[in-house]
């Protein structure tokens, strides 16, 4: 009995790591650009596909893909920001939501057209194959790696934004872009880079997910809804909130799978509803 509980909690933590990586990107983009990036799931999918394409067409392995795929997808994000998203900054953020949602549908449609729906298998890198028996469950080494990397990346991102001078510029840019520009900082460029970074994080999560899940055009479409719930629970735009909530929601899902499996796919949304009733700004959010 306790074995099963620990097992489900660990699996929850692994899923939570993906939630944290994805919601971090969303929170950064929303926090600094005030854009609700609905394309996040599609960008995650593109990251996974980029890894698969690198391996299939160019023979480039997992380790390089971890760097190259996010960079490539990040460039796509930068282009989208420069050409389209930028024009919507002055408007209600509903416009940004609709644009990114449309872009997500287009991207998924294109990949579906080119590669069909069953998708492809991406192998687990050789160094991370196999697993360890923890007594209560068999932990694949790769899944352990996912947790470690995710926590490292999230903490680093949090540190850069909340504790460094660069991060201070970014935060100042959100509060008052005009004033910051008056100090000689190139604010539009900063916004572009921020969006590119958020996109690269999504693609990075995609590469991390490729060896675990089947790489398919629709792999991000169901995930993005849960991740949005995570961001709402954590508080829109709160960096630390989104990371902690990501991991926490994973754990709660795991616990639900142990106690009452049928509720596991809705528990996130129930939680979201309760949090919105009690703290409308989210657990870690500040009312603006």
């Amino acid at each position: 009995m306790t074995h099963a509980l620990f097992g489900q909690l660990l699996v929850g933590l692994i899923n939570g790591s993906f939630y944290a990586l994805l919601s971090l990107g969303l929170a950064i983009i929303f926090g600094l650009l005030n854009v609700v990036n609905f394309a996040h799931g599609a960008l995650y999918m593109m990251g996974a596909f980029a890894a698969w394409m690198l391996a299939t067409y160019l023979g480039v392995g997992y380790w390089w893909a971890l760097l190259v795929a996010p960079a490539a997808v990040g460039v796509v994000g930068v282009a989208a920001e420069r050409l389209m998203l930028r024009r919507l900054y002055g408007l209600d953020n509903l416009y940004g939501l609709l644009l990114t949602f449309g872009l997500a549908l287009v991207a998924e449609g294109l990949f579906h057209h080119a590669y069909g729906n069953s998708g492809f298998s991406y192998p687990v890198p050789e160094a991370l194959q196999g697993g360890v028996n923890l007594g209560f469950m068999f932990l694949p080494i790769y899944r352990g790696w996912v947790v470690v990397v995710s926590i490292f990346v999230c903490t680093t991102a949090w540190f850069v934004i909340e504790r460094t001078k660069l991060g201070a510029y970014l935060r100042a840019g959100t509060e008052n872009p005009r004033l910051l520009q008056a100090f000689g900082v190139n604010v539009p460029l900063m916004f572009t880079i921020t969006y590119g970074f958020g996109v690269a994080l999504a693609a990075f999560a995609g590469v991390m997910a490729a060896p675990v899940y089947q790489v398919t055009p629709l792999m991000g479409s169901s995930l993005v809804i849960v991740v949005f719930a995570v961001v709402v629970i954590g508080g829109m735009g709160s960096i630390a909130g989104s990371i902690l909530t990501g991991l926490g929601v994973g754990l709660i899902e795991g616990l639900t799978k142990f106690l009452y499996p049928e509720a596991s796919s809705v528990v996130v949304f129930v939680l979201m509803a309760i949090v919105l009733l009690v703290r409308p700004a989210g657990l870690f959010g500040r009312t603006r």
């Binding site: 074995h3 099963a4 097992g7 489900q8 699996v11 929850g12 692994i14 899923n15 579906h112 069909g116 729906n117 069953s118 998708g119 492809f120 298998s121 192998p123 687990v124 697993g131 469950m137 068999f138 694949p140 790769y142 899944r143 675990v212 899940y213 089947q214 398919t216 629709l218 792999m219 169901s222 995930l223 795991g254 799978k257 499996p261 049928e262 596991s264 796919s265």
Partner: protein, 406 residues
């Protein structure tokens, strides 16, 4: 001309027009087949555009005409939603003169369209869906269920795996009508063959993470994990089972696995998996000839080999057109009677369509080859056993279908 005389004239004209159409053996001067399938979702590789292609090939090979009238093929995406499926079918019947709706992959959509078709006296020919209710308690008089059903899948894999020592089972089941029905059918076969079912885990359709269900399966200690799901769900289950070290300690039994799934998983992940299939392209000269034609067809963009759903649909469409030819009309009552009276004998299978609408033919228990055993592209299956039609499908008498006289 005065009022009453004019009315009479109009009535006479109407009557003669009606008379002409009644004398015409083909209603509306065209035989129209509607392929209603999952074009973009999780079943689009195993049915989808390939299903449409199979029907078009069957029509082309038939000469494009029957009883001197053209044959038209239309298609639509039901998005796996029963309401969209039944609304599309209704529109096709009422406004677009569609004579038969085919494929209907996903049992939910099939059960939604069948009563609509029966009400309008139009024919449904099902290749993709699997629930036994289709020719059981939900059967209709205008329906043919062609390629496989849950009973056949459950019996093929369930019985043989128990025979080979896999006598304790745990199910990972898709939480909708198809998955639950497949699990119930297989559990019955397993118990009847002397095995034991230790438990199950239900997952929502199109999940991505199966690790928690696999942990439950692992904890159950069952020798065999039956996957009562399909498409991308099965693919992810198999992939993650390997990752979590479930296989090879426990054996996976695929209850509905398609060649498209094996292709996308790769042999290294899918190797040794048992599955039941109605069709394999590399079975004999006839299957090879047809399948290579399908694969190299210019409309087959991915150059994929046909799945059993697609091959079955080609055969079913040909049978439908032959029945129209033989009956001398496309009137549904005559055509369906002809289809049920005419034995099928082609590359896909030999057998008969029963009064319940179920096509009974041989099925195959196959095992996926290892990468070393596979010698050329798409060389994926070892045929372990040919299951004769009488064993593969439920007998007519055993069906709960009200059309069957007892």
């Amino acid at each position: 001309m005065r009022g009453p005389a004019r009315l009479l004239l109009v009535l006479a004209a109407l009557a003669s027009a009606r008379g002409a159409s009644a004398a015409d053996p083909v209603s509306d001067g065209v035989v129209k087949i509607g392929v209603l399938t999952d074009m973009t979702g999780f079943y689009s590789d195993l049915a989808g555009p390939g299903s449409v292609l199979a029907v078009r090939m069957a029509v082309a090979d038939f000469g494009g005409k029957v009883l001197g009238k053209p044959i038209e093929v239309v298609s639509a995406d039901h998005q796996n939603k029963p309401d969209i499926a039944s609304n599309t079918a209704r529109k096709w019947f009422d406004e677009e003169k569609v004579d038969a709706v085919v494929d209907l992959v996903n049992s939910g959509t099939a059960l939604a369209v069948m009563p609509v078709a029966a009400e309008k006296k139009r024919i449904t020919i099902l290749s993709g869906p699997a629930t036994t209710a289709i020719t059981g308690e939900k059967c209709t008089a205008y329906n043919v269920h062609y390629t496989y059903n849950n009973w056949a899948l459950a019996n093929g894999t369930g019985r043989e795996v128990v025979k080979h020592g896999g006598d304790t089972w745990f199910f990972i089941t898709a939480d909708y009508v198809f998955g639950k029905s497949l699990e119930a059918d297989t559990a019955k076969v397993v118990t009847e063959s002397g095995g034991k079912v230790l438990g199950h885990a239900l997952h929502p359709q199109s999940s991505t993470d199966f690790s928690s269900y696999l942990l439950q399966a692992q904890a159950s200690g069952a020798k065999v994990i039956g996957m009562a799901n399909a498409g991308a769900d099965t693919i992810n289950t198999i992939k993650q089972a390997k990752e979590f070290g479930v296989t090879p300690k426990q054996t996976l039994a695929g209850l509905l696995v398609f060649i498209s799934d094996v292709h996308s998983l790769g042999l290294d992940t899918a190797k040794n998996l048992y599955l039941t299939t109605a069709f394999y392209w590399d079975l004999d000269d006839a299957t090879r000839a047809w399948s290579k034609k399908f694969q190299s067809h210019p409309d087959n963009a991915k150059k994929a080999m046909p799945t059993m759903v697609q091959a079955g649909l080609y055969s079913a469409t040909t049978q439908y057109l032959k029945a129209i030819q033989a009956a001398g009309t496309d009137a549904s009552d005559a055509v369906i009677a002809k289809m049920k009276a005419t034995p099928v004998n082609d590359f896909f299978g030999k057998g008969t369509i029963g009064p319940d609408g179920l096509f009974r033919h041989d099925m195959f228990l196959a095992q996926v080859k290892t990468p070393q055993e596979s010698k050329y592209p798409w060389d994926y299956y070892k045929i372990v056993k040919r299951i004769p039609a009488a064993e593969a499908f439920p007998s007519v008498e055993a069906q709960a279908c009200p059309l069957v006289k007892k």
